[in-house]
């Protein structure tokens, strides 16, 4: 009974989000744009949530996969590789997820087998910087520091961005939900709790860590692709900046890592704060992000979700 209710409520909520562009003037309203950002944040924070919240591996290289996704889309488009239309082309977007996922698997094997805890975090940070250098130094293929320009004339409305974002956010959340509830989820959580014990109970630790890392990269890549299509100008400063790692961390910790609803709450909260900040104090939102991350970690390290959990104890 209770579960049915939740499903119905969730479906209604998604439906409500889906009809927003019909109600407000999507091209003029700031609301549609900020909800679009909200959806992007959900995708990328769920990705980080799987890797860090459920598997216990703090990755500081999420921005690299986000950027890889954006660049993959741009490169496919500009070089006319798949010949499938490109603007909101599902094949391109999917490939933009698969390329980072593959790279994550390749670099993940050495990183995850050799580095634990802080060292893994630092290792992923180094990895992200190397990828950045490769793109900056990629010459004419990647357009160096100026990056790549997509034909922006195809833009007509923000609505397709909005719906694709919504779809991907639902997809990401559902994917994480299903993984976490599956047998794979058991292995991931066991690894988070105690790697040695997990191995002693028959779990192939490296395999599952790489799997989670790779799925995280897949989702980050999808998000990067969508955002890249929105920007039309893909360069290292826009899609390979550390913000794309820090924002998801912030949203996860504010909402509560290792829960499904935590990143949703966190994304909502942060995108609201950012939107308000952008309207009233230009350029201040990264500053506010910094203040928020400190305040949250200092006063409620379990996040918003932690507020409800504490009462149970």
């Amino acid at each position: 009974m209770k579960k049915d209710k939740q499903v119905i409520l969730t479906a209604l909520l998604i439906l409500a989000f889906a009809v927003v562009p019909f109600i407000v003037d999507s091209e003029k309203s700031y609301l549609v744009y900020s909800l679009f950002l909200f959806f992007c944040y959900i995708i990328i924070s769920q990705a980080w949530n799987l890797v860090a919240g459920y598997t216990g591996q703090i990755s500081l290289g999420q921005h690299a996969f986000f950027g890889l996704g954006a660049y993959t889309t741009a490169l496919i488009w500009l070089n006319n590789i798949t010949k499938t239309g490109y603007y909101f082309d599902p094949v391109t977007i999917l490939l933009s997820g698969l390329v980072p996922a593959t790279i994550a698997a390749i670099v993940g094997i050495p990183l995850l087998s050799r580095l634990r805890g802080d060292y893994f975090a630092l290792g992923t940070l180094g990895m992200g910087e190397i990828i950045k250098v490769i793109f900056v130094k990629g010459g004419s293929i990647t357009g160096a520091s100026d990056g790549l320009h997509l034909p922006s004339s195809v833009y007509s409305s923000i609505r397709p961005y909005y719906w694709t974002g919504l779809f991907l956010a639902v997809f990401a959340t559902l994917l994480i939900y299903l993984i976490v509830r599956s047998r794979t989820g058991l292995a991931l959580k066991a690894i988070r709790e105690d790697e040695t014990s997990a191995a002693a109970h028959g779990i192939h630790v490296l395999k599952y860590k790489v799997l989670a890392f790779s799925i995280g990269a897949f989702l980050a890549g999808l998000c990067g692709s969508l955002y890249g299509i929105y920007l039309f100008h893909i360069n290292p400063d826009s899609v390979l900046k550390l913000d794309w790692t820090l924002y998801p961390i912030l949203m996860c910790v504010i909402g509560g890592t290792g829960t499904i609803t935590g990143p949703l709450l966190g994304s909502f909260f942060i995108s609201t704060v950012f939107s308000v900040a952008d309207i009233y104090f230009v350029q201040m939102h990264p500053v506010m992000a910094g203040i928020l991350i400190i305040l949250v970690m200092k006063f409620m390290p379990k996040g918003l979700i932690g507020l409800t959990q504490r009462k149970e104890l």
Binding site: L186, K189, E193, D194, S197, A199, H201, G202, I203, H204
Partner: protein
């Protein structure tokens, strides 16, 4: 005893840490359905032996044979799936998972061919140790003795050929201890699981085990029936540091 029924055989296991020889030439056999106690003073190398058997450490020399197959150096998860389950001295259950999820993890990943009926196996194991009622609780919220029982249930859920118990009774009160002993016995009776058991409470081991092996400073100094062990002067000396005055 029939050689075919040997579940695990250790051959001349050696392990050094830095300058310290923790295990020297340890031989040990455990047979099907047998409960073997492993005793010895603190720092004698008992837990290290377990860590070598489950491949958390690689022995410097020597071999480990499970049901006749050489398993030395295989990764820990493979060893678990081949039939060695263990508990840890400092209980290592997965705290932020429910009791059932813990048992389920062991049932899903611990069995070689398993994965079918994992839920049923996990439930049975919980029932066997008497934790069925608490299956939906977060492990972090159950007591230490329940966590020990849960670890035991997890080892049972992986349907092992042998279970290694590392001080399962530490921190349990007498009635909890009785319960634990009953569970160990049931595991043996119903499934013919062999048990190798590190224990500090010597009298429990002597009362309960079919055979007892004694380690001291990394050497196996005795191995035999409980009665023989209890009267072995070498053992008494190892335990008390000096003979009874």
């Amino acid at each position: 005893m029939d050689a075919n029924s040997v579940v695990i055989r250790l051959e001349r296991i050696c392990k050094r840490f830095g300058g310290l020889q923790v295990l020297s030439d340890v031989d040990l056999e455990v047979h099907e359905g047998e409960i073997v106690g492993l005793i010895g003073p603190n720092g004698a190398g008992k837990s290290t032996l377990f860590n070598v058997m489950t491949s958390l450490y690689r022995p410097d020399r020597g071999g480990i044979y499970l049901l006749g197959k050489n398993i030395t150096g295989l990764p820990p998860h493979k060893i678990c799936r081949m039939g060695i389950a263990r508990t840890f001295q400092l209980v290592r259950t997965f705290l932020k998972m429910s009791v059932l999820e813990n048992a389920l993890t062991a049932a899903v990943y611990g069995q070689q061919h398993g994965r079918k009926n994992a839920l049923q196996t996990a439930m049975e194991a919980l029932e066997l140790v008497g934790l069925y009622e608490k299956k939906d609780m977060m492990t972090v919220h159950i007591t230490l003795s329940d966590r020990r029982l849960l670890e035991l249930a997890m080892s049972l859920a992986s349907m092992p050929a042998i279970t290694l118990l590392d001080e399962p009774m530490a921190g349990l009160n007498p009635s909890e201890t009785q319960n634990l002993l009953r569970v160990i016995q049931r595991g043996r009776n119903e499934r013919n699981t062999a048990v190798l058991w590190i224990e500090h409470k010597v009298n429990a081991v002597l009362d309960f085990c079919d055979r007892v092996a004694v380690l001291d400073y990394g050497l196996k100094i005795a191995d035999g029936k409980p009665d023989e062990i209890a009267n072995d002067p070498k053992v008494i000396e190892a335990y008390l540091g000096e003979p009874h005055a």
